[in-house]
């Protein structure tokens, strides 16, 4: 019998420490498969965030460095400018890229740095126990908004793709999700394109992946994928926001 699907070379056999049903594992595999298919594993450098994906260096089978909270785009800028022949990408959550790292993200994008950003949006701070993040939906219950997010008190959800689409330095922005196989195939295409853009020297590419966070949302994995489908992607519509 012929093996047709298995762990990509760019992932190590280390078991993931993520919760059952978490979307991070799927997104790690899509990134690893894209890098394998583009044949750039030996010259790829990832920048891991602070957040659930902080152990990315254990899971990815290529060089990974760690950045202070929110600063992966700044660290990636430095690496890419010193070693322009390397493929440099950052892997960040919403608390990292859209809260504490907003300034670094916007300026790296505005400078048009030739890097790839994988942005995993799960609508809360996962690692610290599910507190409200800038991307938390109105009415969503979190550890710090036990009665639901109230726009008057907590503001509105931050839509990073729409925000960055106005910047001239940005080459590619797309929002995808991973709640079923069809969307996973589409997310793979988007992630691979973001890496291809970097190889082609097109500039800043960002893929926002809407992901489930069953434990912090207080749901079973199956309920959490249903919530992504029925509620989450209604507030964060999928699609391409910029492609030059």
């Amino acid at each position: 019998m012929k093996k047709i699907f298995s762990r990509p070379e760019s992932l190590t056999p280390a078991p993931h420490l993520y919760c059952a049903g978490c979307g991070h594992g799927i997104i790690h595999r899509l990134v690893a498969e894209s890098i394998d298919e583009l044949g750039v594993r030996e010259k790829t450098i990832a920048v891991a965030p602070v957040g659930c994906a902080v152990f990315a260096y254990d899971y990815f089978n290529f060089d990974v460095t760690e950045a202070p909270h929110g600063r992966p785009p700044a660290v990636a800028t430095g690496i890419k400018r010193v070693l322009p022949d390397r493929i440099v990408f950052t892997y960040q959550g919403d608390g990292d890229i859209a809260a504490i790292g907003t300034a670094e993200t916007i300026h790296a994008a505005n400078r048009g740095e030739n890097i790839t950003v994988i942005f995993v949006n799960n609508a809360n701070y996962g690692m610290t126990g599910g507190q409200m993040a800038p991307t938390t939906l109105i009415g969503q219950k979190t550890a710090t908004t036990p009665f639901g997010r109230d726009a008057k008190r907590d503001g509105y959800p931050l839509h990073l793709c729409e925000l960055l689409a106005t910047l001239k330095g940005v080459a590619y922005l797309e929002r995808v999700t991973v709640y079923n196989p069809k969307h996973i195939f589409n997310a793979k295409r988007a992630i691979k394109k973001a890496f291809q853009n970097q190889i082609d020297g097109k500039g800043f590419s960002l893929v926002e992946v809407i992901s489930q966070c069953p434990v912090d949302w207080g749901m079973t994995p199956l309920d959490s994928v249903a919530w992504v489908k029925d509620v989450f992607i209604k507030e964060f519509p999928l699609g391409v926001f910029k492609d030059i």
């Binding site: 047709i4 298995s6 078991p15 049903g21 799927i26 595999r29 079973t220 199956l222």
Partner: protein
């Protein structure tokens, strides 16, 4: 050899693969693995079409598919 091989110790029993399988070939085990989860088990050997949907949705890359 089976078409779907599940690493029972890596599986966290999230059941996303069971939901994704178009031929309903997977169920959750009645027994526990080393970490205390009930892993998914491949049961319908003849119905499986090796589509790989279970592999696609598995967050723990615990599944290998053969054809």
């Amino acid at each position: 050899m089976e078409k779907v091989i599940i690493d029972a110790d890596k599986c966290k029993g999230c059941a996303l693969c069971i939901e994704a399988c178009p031929k309903k070939c997977l169920i959750l085990s009645d027994t526990f693995n080393k970490a205390g989860y009930r892993p998914a088990v491949f049961t319908q050997k003849d119905a499986c079409i090796s589509c790989g949907f279970c592999f696609q949705v598995c967050p723990d890359i615990a599944i290998e598919i053969y054809t």
